[in-house]
Amino acid sequence: MSGPMKAAVFILGAPLLCGGCVGIQSPLDTHGDHAALIAVLSWVMFIGATLISLGVVGVTAYAMFGDRERRARFLDRRLIIGGGILFPTATLTALLIHSLILANRLVAVTADDKPLRIEVIGEQWWWRVHYLDEQGQRAFTTANEVRIPVGQPIEFILTTADVIHSFWIPSLGGKLDMIPGHVNRLRLKADRAGVLRGQCAEYCGGAHALMAFFAVVETPEHFAAWYDGQRTPARQPADPFLIKGRDLFLSSGCGGCHAIRGTAAAGVIGPDLTHIGSRRSIGAGLYPVNAGTLAGWIVDSQHLKPENRMPSFNVFTGEELRALAAYLQSLK
């Protein structure tokens, strides 16, 4: 973003951009140039609309209470032509042209940018995430979280496994739908680090309200380390308690739906759990990852997130449940 543009964002954004008080899921708390450009446009429109509203109220008040002779003279057919035709035509034409140029710029693909490609598949009601390597092959799979480096263009390749969803990280830019039979590509770039929240924006049935995710923006170095870590298979536990947890995982049939790379669990129905312990949330943005939430989820997922595709598994003893949760938590 250019210098003057930054200044404009600062001045126009100041009224609401009071550092964090807009939350981590707001289009006004911008972490990337797409969102910033849209935020500037938004503020211009908010201010313009406020002025126009006040103007209409003022003219109406004058029409009601102004001097009868004079108001009838001023506010006649010319008001209709001026206020109803000329003014909107002029302002809206300018606004339209600006916005369309901006829109084209936001979706433009420049030949020299080498975007990081991340495939995100919407599923009822979570996000399957594949990172693609430079050859376009899937490097590794994760879920309900995207990590991206500051400064590098990202191309999200958006599809769905079932119904229509919509992928949206407000602090980085606008949303784009995931539609059966269509492949949509969303290009975004983050310009400062932070933890951002995204959420499904197209109603997708049942637990739509609970289909969120986190987008973690990191320095390129941190990102590279994380990326390499994600490519490796799951760590084999040495602690007997964790080994018990792993064995329970494998013997209880969890692998029918979930994969943990490096073990026999290779299910593809639910989220890949290879590095579940390093993620920020379970249940698609629902709870932080710790032994307690993991155990609670296993036992009672239908209560915590009604209608989700994982049945509640209330079949373990307390000890078993703790081991299972501890094992999953250890999968950093």
Partner: protein
């Protein structure tokens, strides 16, 4: 025919002008004894339980409006449930599944069971009175539309109590709503429930178009048409062109759900976006369909309250027309986030900007009217001022969401929820309450209280803004719509709590309104207070069940202001048609532009089969929903029989050689062809049918562009040999020719007798059916099955639609034959045949175009 009116402009300050009619009114005094009593007797609604069969527009209009108000309250209660659930973060007052049903029903009921019926109801009630007509041209059709709506709507609502209510959101996007992801009957309730409400809306729209164009007071040229009637005419036209898209859409989705024809299933060459196009091609005009009548209210009420004619009448009419046109070019702005190409996004963004110009024209015309007159602060004025403020804000946020990059951020968030409630509540509900207050004295024995009215307005205005203004911010903080719960750490809670408090405040205003109705609203009870606001339009003329005693000559846009003594002379019976010369209900039919009297139509009165038909139509759809096919078919048959009974006495023929309406004018009582109101209604129906077919043609080519890989050119499937469609086309043409010959034979039936006509009808039915059979057989024998691909489904759908016409026309043909057998059809009394003929020609044309599309496209594309 009419005395030349002086150059009536209707745009000057109100005042009296000399008028030619003063020199000689059409009828002289005193009126013959018993004339008024006969009129009263003829138009009196039936008493006892038979009162249910009443058809007078002033009764049906009020019932209709009362029912719409009931659904407004029910959907409002659902809104309060949602607001209670969202008052606090992570609240668990309402379960996820219930909430999803509740928000779907809230939107669906507000749009389909409240907004459209409410404005249509007002039209049924007001239009004849405002145009100086005795009634609408098809009173039984209004009654049918009302009863089907009442019964169907109530049963539809009750699905909530069984957990069977639809839960796909009011725009029901597949594949979420198709059989795979919504296996229960919930979605069927929506599709079939909305299906017959669409039919009801279309019936109303046909009534309104013909009513506005053909039943006006003589002299009420289009240039002097009340703005409200203009608004309703354009409203009805928009229903005629907009609703067919959703009629086709609901049919396709229901067929996909029931028979697995994959119109919207991507894996089989369907496309979920097809639904979005069909839905929003209806859905966006729908917003203006709701808004235009409300704008008509404002343009009618405001001049009265300011006691001056509307400034810029022509500008406002042009603005209404422009809105009607542009509204059909903006639907894709609901789809900016679907990833469609930038070029089409740009076009639709531009159109969305353009539509604010006519809104601005009207806004400033209203302000100029206030400036010119002196606005009295009454309850209707307050609601209109509230409307101006809220609608301005809603319009401005509408511009914002029409801006593509901004929409990418706020689409499907609470910002949009705030926007469309500003537009819909501001743009429609506030004017509607102004209208309730303004027109209540037309049929209530006493006015509503002004003092309470101010409280009602105050509570609703404050409550509304407190509810919906914060939602703009909630949306900008990232809250998506249609979520039943939200986490506490995102900063949304205080905003939601504020919205909830506001909602209850607004509900208190509505509750106060109900109390006020209970205290002071007394319809149908006798003498009304008269023209309490000193209004200028004809509905304020003294009236009874027969509407006005005599049909006035209109010389101004503001007749009650500009034509002195009009009220007295009308009531004395000095204008046209002061009695009932045919001895039954009748109305003056006038020409569409100049409003010159053309003939006197005998309009049908109360009728039980009409009500029976409506109730059983509703049950036909509802039983289909729960897959009780046999009972559904029985109900359907009863409905059809009842419709036939209702129609049996509606083509009375020339019972009188001509009637004297006064002023030396003698008019026929029976005409056929382009002058007749029946011809106009059939033409409008054909426009509806043509729009449904156009939507199907769009679907065919849309699916081709979406999935050419299932088209014959890719799959290598051998399309049926050309001899098949040629044979089918010849059969179609033969069917049309048989009908044409039958028409000639009817003209000569004095000589030839009735048998050639009956024979022609029979032959035409057989050929029409054979043509359809040939087409179906050609696809079937070539191995095409509708379940296998989007292509196959849409090919069979062309035949399915044709099948609807074949069935309908067969019934109409047998009905016509029955009339012939009973001596109700002859060279003059031939309206039934002519109407059947018109629709027949349409079906032949549709069939030929369908054949050309289905058989030529795969060869050429």
């Amino acid at each position: 025919v009419i005395p030349e009116a002086t150059a009536a402009t209707g745009t000057g300050q109100r005042g009296s002008r000399a008028s030619v009619t003063e020199q000689g009114l059409p009828n002289s005094l005193p009126r013959p004894e018993g004339e008024l009593e006969a009129l009263e007797q003829i138009w009196r609604p039936p008493s006892g339980w038979r009162f249910l069969t009443v058809v007078n527009n002033s009764y049906i209009g009020v019932f209709y409006l009362g029912t719409a108000l009931l659904f407004f309250l029910l959907a409002g209660l659902l809104a309060l449930m949602m607001r209670s659930q969202l008052a606090f973060a992570e609240n668990d007052l309402i379960s996820q599944d219930t909430y999803n049903q509740v928000f779907t029903m809230h939107g669906t009921i507000m749009m389909f069971l409240f907004a459209v019926p409410a404005v249509e109801a007002f039209g049924v009630y007001l239009l004849p009175n405002m145009q100086g007509a005795r009634d609408l041209p098809f009173p039984r059709l209004s009654a049918y539309a009302f009863w089907a709506y009442l019964v169907g709507g109530l049963v539809f609502f009750c699905s909530l109590f069984f957990g069977l209510a639809p839960k796909g959101g009011w725009f029901m996007y597949p594949p979420l709503t198709s059989y795979q992801y919504s296996p229960g009957p919930n979605a069927d309730f929506w599709l079939l429930g909305i299906g017959f409400i669409e039919i009801s809306a279309i019936a109303g729209a046909i009534e309104i178009v013909v009513g506005v164009l053909k039943t006006r007071a003589p002299g009420m040229t289009l240039d002097k048409l009340p703005i409200y009637a203009w608004a309703m005419l354009i409203f009805a036209a928009m229903i005629i062109f907009g609703f067919p898209a959703i009629i086709l859409g609901t049919a396709l989705l229901e067929i996909e759900r029931s028979f697995h024809w994959p119109f919207f299933i991507a894996e089989k060459g369907g496309d979920p976006l097809l639904w979005q196009h069909l839905f929003w091609f209806f859905g966006h005009p729908e917003v203006y369909i709701i808004f235009l009548p409300a704008a008509g209210f404002v343009s009618t009420i405001l001049p009265t309250m300011a006691q001056t004619p509307l400034v810029g009448y022509r500008f406002v009419v042009l603005a209404l027309l422009a809105t009607g046109f542009i509204a059909f070019g903006v639907w894709v702005h609901h789809m900016f986030t679907t990833g469609i190409p930038q070029l089409s996004v740009s076009f639709f963004s531009a159109a969305s900007m353009a539509v604010s110009v006519p809104a601005g024209i009207q806004l400033f015309a209203w302000i100029a009217t206030i400036a010119k007159g002196r606005l009295q602060i009454t309850t209707p004025s307050l609601f209109i001022l509230g409307f101006l403020a809220i609608f301005t804000v809603g319009g401005l946020t509408g511009v914002m969401v029409g801006i593509v990059p901004f929409d990418w951020q706020v689409h499907d968030t609470y910002f949009v929820v705030a926007h469309f409630h500003y537009v819909l509540i501001g743009g429609m509900v506030f004017p509607l309450f102004a209208a309730f207050y303004y027109w209540a004295p037309l049929d209530s024995t006493q006015r509503l209280s002004e003092r309470t009215g101010r409280w009602i307005f105050g509570l609703m205005f404050a409550g509304f803004n407190l509810t919906f203004f914060p939602m703009h911010i909630t949306g900008l903080l990232g809250m998506p719509r249609r979520v039943w719960t939200y986490p506490s750490e995102l900063g949304w809670e205080w905003l939601n709590l504020t919205s909830t408090l506001g909602a209850f405040l607004m509900a208190a205003g509505v509750l106060l309104f109900l109390i006020e109705l209970a205290r002071n609203y007394r319809p149908f009870m006798g003498e009304t207070p008269g023209n309490v606001w000193d209004a200028s339009t004809l509905e304020w003329l003294p009236s009874g069940n027969y509407a006005n005693r005599s049909v006035p000559i209109v010389e101004s846009r503001d007749p009650l202001w500009d034509q002195p003594n009009l009220a007295r002379d009308v009531e004395d019976g000095r204008y046209y048609l002061p009695g009932a010369p045919t001895g039954g209900r009748e109305a003056l039919i006038t020409s569409p532009v100049e409003a010159r009297p053309q003939y006197v139509v005998q309009i049908p009165g109360p009728n039980l089969p009409t009500v029976v038909a409506a109730v059983f139509t509703a049950f036909f759809f509802l039983l289909l929903t729960v897959k009780l096919v046999i009972p559904a078919i029985i109900c359907g048959v009863i409905a059809i029989v009842a419709i036939i009974l209702w129609l049996w006495d509606t083509d009375p023929g020339p019972t009188h050689s001509g009637v004297d309406i006064g002023g030396g004018i003698t008019l026929p009582v029976y005409v056929t062809g382009p002058v007749s109101h029946a011809w106009w209604a059939m033409i409008v129906l054909i426009l509806v049918a043509g729009s449904v077919f156009a939507a199907l043609i769009f679907s065919y080519y849309f699916l081709w562009t979406a999935s050419p890989d299932v088209w014959p050119s890719s799959t290598g499937w051998q399309v049926p040999d050309a001899s098949w469609p040629v044979a089918s086309a010849l059969l179609l043409a033969g069917s049309g020719a048989a009908m044409a010959l039958g028409g000639r034979a009817l003209a000569a039936s004095d000589r030839l007798g009735q048998w050639p006509v009956r024979g022609a009808l029979l032959v035409a039915v057989v050929l029409l059916g054979a043509s359809l059979a040939a087409e179906l057989l050609s696809q079937w024998q070539a191995g095409l099955r509708p379940q296998e691909s989007g292509y196959a489904a849409v090919v069979y759908m062309v035949s399915a639609l044709q099948g609807v016409f074949v069935t309908t026309l067969a019934i109409m043909a047998f009905f016509t034959i029955a009339r012939s057998m009973t001596g109700r059809l002859n060279a003059v009394r031939r309206s039934t045949y002519d109407n059947t003929l018109l629709l027949w020609y349409y079906a032949v044309g549709q069939g030929l175009i369908g054949l050309a599309m289905v058989h030529l496209s795969p060869r050429l594309l």
